[in-house]
Amino acid sequence: MGKKRVGALEKVDADLSNLQYKIRRDPRSYNEEFSQQYRQYQTQRDIFLANPNTDATNGIVSFKDLIDFVAHVADCYLEATKPFPEELKEILTLHHAELESELREKIVGSLVLLRRKDIIDSTELLNTLFPILVSTPSKTLRTLLYQKILGDLRTSNSKTKNHKLNRTIQTALYNLLTSDRTSQKGLWAVKITRELWKRQIWTDSKAVEIMKEASLANNEKVIGGGVRFFLGGDKEREDKEDEVSGEEEAIDMGKLKHQALINKKTKKKAKTMERAVDKVKRDRKKKNAPHPLNFSALHLLHDPQGFAENLFQKHLQNSKSKLNLEQKLLVLQLVSRLVGLHQLTIISLYSYFIKYLTPKQPSVTSFLASLAQATHKFVPPDALEPLIVKIANEFVSEASASEVAAAGLNAIREICVRQPMAMNDTLLQDLVMYRKSKDKGTMMAAKGLLSLYREANPDLLKKRDRGKTASMGIKSGAIQQRRFGEEDAGGIEGLELLEEWKESERKRKRAERGLPELGTDEEEESSEDEQDWEVASNSSSDSGGWINVESDAEIEISDSDDDKPSAKRVKLDKTVVKDSTPAEPEDPAAAKKENEDKISKLATTKILTPADLLKLQELRNSAAVAKAMGGNRIQTARLKEMMARHADDALTADQIEGFAKLQKNTREEKIAMAREGKGDRNEHKSTQAIRRAKKDSEGKSTTNKEKSRKKNFLMTLGKAKYKQKRSLVQTKRVLQGHIERAKRGGKRGNIGM
């Protein structure tokens, strides 16, 4: 029999890991060895406590290893190791600054291990680690502790929410922030809360309350952390969620089953199979689980008015505030966001903007965006009017750059979308003139303003600018000026569209069955409703995979002599008819009454299913698009985009800047732009030739100019001859037209700018 090989440590009997392994297998038999080692730990601890800052690792077995050993087997000897966690905590709390780093890490790790073995509870652990995290000067320890704290909070919330623990920690964080508002320690509270918010572990108002305190702190970094959370925390959370759901790749069960049939059957493979089945089941369950209600942080705030006022007074109005411009802009964004979202009233906020509204102001577009964001329909127009006048005077003039003018017009439009009454007629008429501008950004911005007021208050526009729909609406009284603070009587927007659609759908179905078009068939209705309850089933059945192409509407309307028009056609028919002939000699009050009747009938007699609501949204959108059909495609697309933008979303500086970017391109960007489309310069070829080759390879056709250049000479002779044959009058007309165009400054003219 061969000699047993023994390791160097085993020879001297100092192999703790070996002993640990043995103990874990049979704790009772090794009781004596354990007690000896535990005694050793105690004596080493005594030595350590006698002078904690010296390194006592000159023996074979260091204190660190002993701690590790005891922590690993503590669950086998619960009675004997009762004081062990307490002792570790004490060492860490008292000596964390002077401990040797490895020993320190080991103690933290052991405490977490004890927590995992359920020897101590989370609250105890976190209450030990958190004060150290805040107070320690060592960066490595801080990162370690931060990791461990987060990890522990995540594990203890993984199965179900541990409300008790969360509450304790939240209270600790809150106290940390409120106890000393000037210190930077609060940053840890912000960091932890933000991380947990991102992972959807904390989604309650208490976490929001912590962040609220952070944004009202006195330290710049803490303020920045708090404010950034409100501005971006929810987006971060959504991104994280998408990321997580995107990560899971689907398991092909069929393939696995097939493999299991063919391949060699081993225990391991059976286990993998089992796990895969488990995962698929879990995924399915997760998919079917109801979506958790996650309110955004801004909605969970208690007393948003007080918060917004405090923020504004403390950080913006206060002349002693030490924030720099960037931080101030962040705070301003938050305040304006709150004001816009909760429709708060802070009158002094608007006068605060005045001094920042000049083109020279750095990042002025952010200020403009904030101003627009802070506007809502309950802001008194008197407060906004001077601001709009200032923007118009400073930004929108012939003398200013086109980008500046575009930004100013965009800002004015965004403000007026939210409060149309802030505009007066002379100013609006002046601004609308810019739609003739040669700069595209300015032109678009002015057109946007025009189309806005065609809907909101066409009275302010000149008669010829109002457009057909608006002027007819004014004449018939359908469009009336809104008063300040006026609200629509309650109702569901587009409900009548849904009703019409339902009616037509029913008719169609009855027609299919050969029944008379009118008449009631309640049982049929109810069964149909049941079918349509689920969103998914409905969407797959009713549209049948066909996409509603709007540009065909005109054609379809013309052939209305069809006996059984499809649902789509009927719907479009009605909406277009409603749009184009609103000038019925009907008294508006009567129409309104009828409308109200309709609303009450559908919304109060039936329960709207999710499928119904989805259809309603679809109808609403298509109606709005159909209304804007007069405009070109781009406008329609923009309209769609504006509708898609949710009221909760923030307005950004990019949206104010519009097409034109205010900042110039850098040199690299310019070079890249110049290089673009020119291909590589390996062979000597003209730019034109390279472009041509590229277009050919993409399968694109030639331009008219190119075609004419390549045209056979003999074929052009006829036209050339005709030019000589022109009469004097014709020649004069051509020449005069040329002079005229030259005076105007090209085909589109120099009007505006």
């Binding site: 009781n31 004596e32 005694r39 023996g59």
Partner: protein
């Protein structure tokens, strides 16, 4: 034309082969760089030069630091050997180059050293230190001795016992031996003995297979020695304080309390009040009086020790004899204890 001819010649020169001649140095290469330099003095880093040899005191401290903090075990061992020879060869009346109170704290941690030769040398060195200075460091020494006694390695445990024996003999001349009366000295050390001997487990009922493995494995050879040291220790703790009683009788009845009025002869005389330290638990408490020690011993250890002695005596041989000695010591020590707490 002349210049062009010159250029041609110059060019030609590049391709001509240099003629080598015997006894002449080889021509330098074109790109040769002269790297020689002149300097008035050259300073080489990390070299200490002095005209006189280091003094013995300096060398002593150097070797002391080498012994306590060197990474290599041979270096530690040699340094210890050097220190030992220095101390042993010095004249009797001459004091140590560095006082023992400085030497001790530096060297005590070597009790846990992994190398056997280092520990042996350390014990030799310790034995040479004057016994008067040791009692002040009894508490620190005990910390390391206890750590050694519970160590995973058997050799270290054995050497720790030797160290304890040394400590007991060198401090036994004191009244109120600091080894047993310092904080933690009595209960904690006895605890260590119990785990070492495997007697601690007898508190809770276990199966007979797990009982007293100490005599089976290779620590069995150490068993008699352990019993002897334990007997020594218990004698130090429980023995009637003869010097003290003589002391009392020397003075008259009126001067009975005289001792308390005089200047204390021991360092830190009020340590038992624990004015500045952390709170102590039962194990870490100071047991200054013999009666205190008896009471604690009776309450915590008496049963286990008696059972252990019974078992040791059954083993007969050296272990049995050591057990008998221990029993006698115990009997003497606890003779006047009335058993009432």
């Amino acid at each position: 034309m002349g210049s062009s001819m010159k250029k041609k010649r110059d060019k030609k020169k590049d391709f001509q082969k240099p003629k080598l001649r015997l006894g002449k140095a080889k021509a330098k290469a074109d790109n040769f760089t002269d790297t020689s330099f002149k300097a008035k003095a050259i300073i080489v880093n990390q070299q200490s030069l002095s005209t006189s040899a280091p003094s013995s005191a300096l060398q002593f401290s150097h070797f002391l630091s080498l012994a306590s903090s060197s990474k290599s075990e041979t270096q530690r061992r040699d340094a210890l050997a050097y220190l030992t020879s220095q101390i042993s060869t010095k004249p009797v009346n001459e004091p140590l180059p560095i006082p023992a109170t400085v030497i001790l704290p530096k060297l005590l941690s070597l009790l846990l050293d992994g190398s056997t030769s280092v520990r042996t040398n350390l014990l030799k060195l310790l034995a040479l230190l004057p016994s008067g200075d040791i009692s002040a460091h009894a508490e620190t020494a005990l910390l390391y001795i206890r750590a050694g006694m519970t160590h995973l390695a058997a050799d270290i445990r054995r050497d720790a016992l030797l160290a304890l024996e040394w400590l007991l003999t060198s401090t036994s001349s004191n009244t109120n031996d600091p080894v047993v009366s310092c904080p933690g000295g009595w209960v904690k050390t006895l605890n260590c003995f119990m785990t070492m001997l495997g007697w601690a487990a007898s508190k809770e009922p276990t199966s007979w297979t797990s009982a007293s493995k100490a005599s089976f494995d290779k620590t069995g050879k150490m068993f008699p020695q352990q019993l002897t040291v334990l007997a020594h220790f218990i004698r130090a703790g429980l023995e009637e304080d003869q010097t003290g009683s003589i002391h009392y009788s020397g003075f008259g009845f009126f001067q009975l309390e005289n001792r308390h009025m005089m200047m204390p002869s021991v360092p830190n005389a009020f340590a038992h009040l624990n004015l500045f330290g952390r709170c102590r638990d039962e194990e870490g408490e100071m047991y200054v009086d013999r009666e205190d020690r008896q009471r604690v011993f009776h309450r915590v250890f008496m049963d286990a020790v008696e059972k252990g002695i019974e078992r040791a005596k059954k083993e007969a041989g050296e272990a049995g004899r050591a057990g008998a000695v221990l029993q006698k010591v115990l009997h003497d020590g606890m003779a006047d204890f009335d058993g009432s707490d």
